[in-house]
Symmetry: D2
Subunit: 284 residues, 4 copies
């Protein structure tokens, strides 16, 4: 995989943004591998993403950043420049269910996805052996009903300690403290085992079974301090029938959960997700 | 299309039901074209559907019914016997949106689906010309805010007048009176333009847009006196993106609405739907 | 629907194209509603599409064209500028099956899609009544085995006579002459009732049934002089099972045929399709 | 998971089969958990599957078999009775790609699927470490171009040695000898990385890329001595676009490959697949 610089930006829309940014890159002789733009007609906001080949540029990242800053200021941009040669550090969290965690660890291990795992945090011991086989530190952080606040506080403190770029709740069954959700907004990704907004909260497959839906779903979203209500990154559904018991829904759901989470995380890792209010732009 | 008798039944589950019913048919030399069974392990209820070739039976429908009644009583069955040679009478209702209505009328007209349309009822005049081209009586029943109860009462009275077997709300934008919903339970089919239970009620595409979901859906269900909460017959979803405005969601939704409604209605017309509490068994 | 100018172009890729084109639009103060770019890394070719609000430009189309020509020459572009205020003229062709034709006529009639229909051409009489109800001229052009070449020659001559921008074979069961396919390349759209390249040619549902596939499909593609081998615009599949006879496959297939054709045609009408060799770029 | 006996049978269709079989079970007081029937109208063949609770029967498996044999003879049935308490022995084969193998091993290990793995056979060494972590013997059987026939002969001999009930080619990149395909017909399952019959043979994602299809697929099928032409168990597709390079197709394909293979294998393990000529009945 060749490395690329990924430049993402958003700002109030007005004529000339693309001309200015692509002109800046062209003036340096930079080759654009992929370019995506979106203009939101309702909010009047503009979004863009460029993948640039760094070898085609005569300047380093520091110079690029300082020169681009002038454009960013001119248009009032929020922006980021990431180098894909620096894979993101992903702290994975899980409880007892192993399918999402095993899937992500295997993808990382086999080179299917490009990230590093500084550690896996779990409130149970049961997944330690699997995690350690992958050569990843396993941190057991129990959470007990009586000391939940302190336990979760200590858990969340690990995000900084392990220098996480992003945290993935890979079927982690605890609710993070609201202040942590706010502090880490846009950097904590959850997989919820329903097609949100239906069946938020506990036991979504039981809720789906009771309602008699004909498709079940899964939702990958950013965590906020409102449960299962954050910006949605990716969703999927699969057909079920009256023959499917709750146990079968749980089993069928695992397959879409792990794929939905992997797709959502990949978008995030490749800087394809721009958050706008409670929604996302996905430049896939 | 060859005609068939369709026998559907449900009862408390116990050993010997299939043996008894299939033995009864076999003893008369009847050929079973299609047989489906379902045993609900949670509620202990049993469901079945047989399609029988009537020419292979030495007895007529009346004799079949009176003889089968003994078995039905023995097992405490709710049951039905329908002859596909008698297409069901479907009263269609619509407001201004034409896509579902046009689709069903075309399917009926071209022989894609087997039913008759005694009339189309609408609270607007705009679809008259199209309906009358199909040779179907168009009944304009305006509903005004001030006289809603009386207007809808007169509207609902037409179901009996036109001897409806089933009523289809093909994007009919009025809510039927609760007592009509109860009286016609299991015989009024609605298409809702969201993946229920998400986005019940008004303007579901606007709700979906605001929530930023990555798939939109449609739901075909039986109408009850709780809005958009009746037993679900069929659902479908389609992928959308940040590029899709509300107007585009509305447009993309039309395609799954009409197909979801057509599939759900077909199941109903072919006696493939058995209602159980607030859920359905679909013997497709 | 607001009108827009749609500018599409393709050329050998090199740095600076986007900067140049978007700079040109920005210099005139033009507002870009939607912009899409694609750089094909394998062939080194570049593709783009802009939707521009014409009211924001101080110049008319003629001036825009003559000024843009300089850029086009500089980069070796093939390009087009279309005004959505001039809906394309679509000649529809069908044989006996009505579902695709009825669907497109209804979409046009109800405003779901933006085009005009100068005429429907059919080698049978059976769809005349339906077509004429929509106020569209119906031209019966029989094709007999003995005089096929002349018959089809006369048929194809109508494309010019009715000043077609695009021709849609909405389940038209004759093969157009090779020279017509070449002359009209990129302007004749077919719906094939299989997931190509599987089951090209005659009776694809029978082929699918015999092979025992678990999904059936449909393919919307540009017609070339090699049967069912032209550039694919859109495809879809639907799940089937051992219970589905050929007749049921045919029936289930109709629903994806008409939606696949409608989506493919819409892409074409909105200038979202760029042909590259035997493949398409779809800026949806 | 409760254990069940699974009785599958097929025979020429005639009235009375269901009555006879269900009567036999009912006479012994047996509880049927799940019953499925299919009558193929084209070939006049009948198929059935029963899941029976063994605790509800007063007789053991041996007696059941000998008594049922009379019915089987009467109707000319091919039939099987399997006890889910005896999980099938699945020999897994792979080459270098790990995603399908890792997925199946994880499913087995975590209890998601019910089978045992006597060994994994590979023509490469690269997956040994992963396999052995799961506590499964890894057998390296290199296949060299010069000694292919002997190498594959020795490889195939392992199926018996390890008493395989079923062999799964989880992206095993060698073609088994024709005589082995015939001897093991119905017991060797392959995952092919295309939507067959399109793109059989080598490098299907390259073929798909070159053809410009808008969906890619995967096919789980029984192996026969004609390459990629055996009875299809399960298939799936996923949408792709002009933005997807061959490398991206390969990557997106992995996700449907592993899920399609897992679903197909599950059907086989639960005796839900009945082979009929070159097609399958799937009682899901």
């Amino acid at each position: 995989m060749q490395t690329a610089w990924c430049l993402t930006a958003s700002c109030p829309d007005k004529p000339g943004i693309v001309a200015r940014v692509s002109g800046f890159i062209a003036d340096h002789g930079g080759t654009i591998v992929e370019a995506s733009y979106h203009s939101d007609q309702v909010t009047g906001w503009f979004f863009m993403r460029h993948e640039i080949e760094p070898q085609t540029l005569p300047i380093g990242m520091e110079d690029f950043v300082s020169q681009f800053e002038a454009i960013a200021v001119e248009f009032g941009m929020q922006w980021q420049l990431n180098d894909s040669a620096q894979p993101k550090r992903v702290v994975l969290m899980a409880s007892r269910e192993s399918h999402c965690l095993a899937d992500l660890l295997h993808r990382q291990h086999s080179g299917d996805m490009n990230f590093t795992v500084p550690c896996v945090i779990s409130n149970h011991e049961s997944l330690r052996e699997m995690v350690e086989w992958f050569g990843v530190p396993f941190v057991h952080m129990p959470v007990s009903p009586d000391t939940r606040a302190e336990d979760l506080g200590r858990t969340v403190a690990l995000f900084d300690e392990y220098r996480a770029d992003v945290v993935v709740l890979a079927r982690y069954m605890q609710i993070l403290p609201p202040e942590a959700c706010r502090q880490w907004f846009g950097r904590v990704i959850n997989i919820h085992h329903s097609f949100l907004p239906s069946f938020a909260g506990a036991r979504p497959y039981h809720q789906a079974y009771d309602r008699g839906v004909k498709l079940i779903g899964s939702t990958c979203h950013y965590v906020t301090d409102v449960l299962d209500a954050g910006p949605i990154i990716e969703q999927d559904t699969v057909r079920v029938s009256h023959r499917d018991t709750v146990q079968r829904l749980v089993r069928m759901g695992r397959d879409i959960e792990k794929n939905t989470l992997a797709r959502g995380l990949r978008y995030h890792l490749e800087d394809r997700v721009l958050i706008h209010g409670n929604k996302t732009i996905i430049f896939d």
